[in-house]
Amino acid sequence: MNWINAIAQGLLLGGLYALFACGLSLLFGVVGIINLAHGDLAVLGGYVAVAILPSVHTNALWALLFVPPIFGAFGYVSQRTLLQRSLENGPLTTLLVTFGLSVVLQNALLEGFSADSHSLSIGKLATQALRINSQLSISYLRFGILVVAVVVLAGVQLLLARTSVGRQIRAVADDNEAAAISGVNTRHIAGIATGIAFVTVAIAGLANGMYSQFTPTSGSSLLLFAFEAVIIGGLGSLWGTLAGGCVLGLAGTIGAQIDSTMGTLIPHLVFLAVLAVRPSGFFPARAPA
């Protein structure tokens, strides 16, 4: 790897991190839930694809058609049942509930799929790359993931900014009680927001499964990267989240360029440094505008 390549690969990896972080940011910003099961849900998305794909198609890209909608419905229902009830008991309860969910998911996946690693096969696309010169080549898959991340973030942003549902989601995020007296069915809207967050988690989980192997316990490190991307970018700002993801990705690939054993540590150090210097992140916004 040379420097230009490290930067390119870092930015591309940032797309994946941002995709993970998007749902986490949405769920925290709108519903007020810090979802500790976020990474495990993404992994679950991968396993849902593993389970269903054999009866659909050999190419895992097809999973993008059915896993996100399943997760959307799953998100809505879990908000209206489990999460809403825990929210009414205060923020600590939601932490415990999502932590519990994380443990349950990991163990259920271990039980159902064993500890062996899986991956999602997308055929030749996985290895093809656009060769720019002898030093720099860009994997179609990684580039595709970055494009998907930008499309998802822009889509969520547009939905929040321009649609009636999006306005109601922002209203709930701003002031839940004021939203209720303005006629907003706040639970329904929180359910929709959770559904959207889960759709993005599913897409992130599928992208991750195509990009690398996963096991039932991969969720924890995914959660950590998502958290860090959200904090670096600034809470509530989706474009900040993309920037945060890219910072993490760059830190990883540039770090590995300096010292190959440091690649996994450097992003976390960069995160701590940002937290120390700018605790509210680089693009803090109360709500996306």
Binding site: S164, R167, D174, D175, A180, S182, G183, T186, A287, A289
Partner: protein, 251 residues
Amino acid sequence: MSAHTESAATTPLLVAEGLTVLHGQLAALRDVSISVNAGEIFAVVGANGAGKSTLLRTLAGLHRPASGVVRVDGVDITTHATDQRVRQGVVLVPEGRRLFPSMTIEENLLVGAANGRRGEWNLDRVYDLFSWMRDRRKEKTSHLSGGEQQVVALGRALVANPRVLLLDEISLGLAPVIVQRIYQTLPSIAGGDMAVLVVEQDVTQAMRVAARFQCLLEGRTTLAGRPQDHTTEEIEAAYFGFGGLGSAAAS
């Protein structure tokens, strides 16, 4: 005033009977009843902490009463959620305005209009009534003055086409001129058959527009009637709780 007296004889639009509301150990309302007619402006007055906001918030569904019922047009809505009440035409302008700070004026109004009843009020009509709003509709509400915010909060409630409009201390923190201007628009808003329930600490302002009033003290009704039927002393005694009636209520 005679028009108001006549409408008082019609069936009331909003009725609450025997409301008792608890905040933990504290009974913020004790056996309070109220009845407001269509087309009427009704005032609830009382000192700070008397239970006025608790009353309006209970009517809007933000507090569940420990006992008592709330009816709108004969329909028992005691157990209905807040957003459901908005669709039934009970809309609150809360104390402190509570606009959505990250949103523009127009977005605030659009949220109010999204789930409300259909009717004669829409964004255009609000902009016609408060013409400054039309030019500034793309501005964030957090940049507005207190009086402007109050008017936007009123507009956000109006676009839901309320049958019962609940106004909680709309004069709070505003310059007297601005309060007067807002109050001047009330009769034209209430015109038709909207019932308006105003809550105020400032008795004179509320009494000027109201056909009937009720005075709360420590969660109980200490006086009710028409403003012109009571002397200032009577109202003050009911408000502050001195004199026979007040000390009985406080005990």
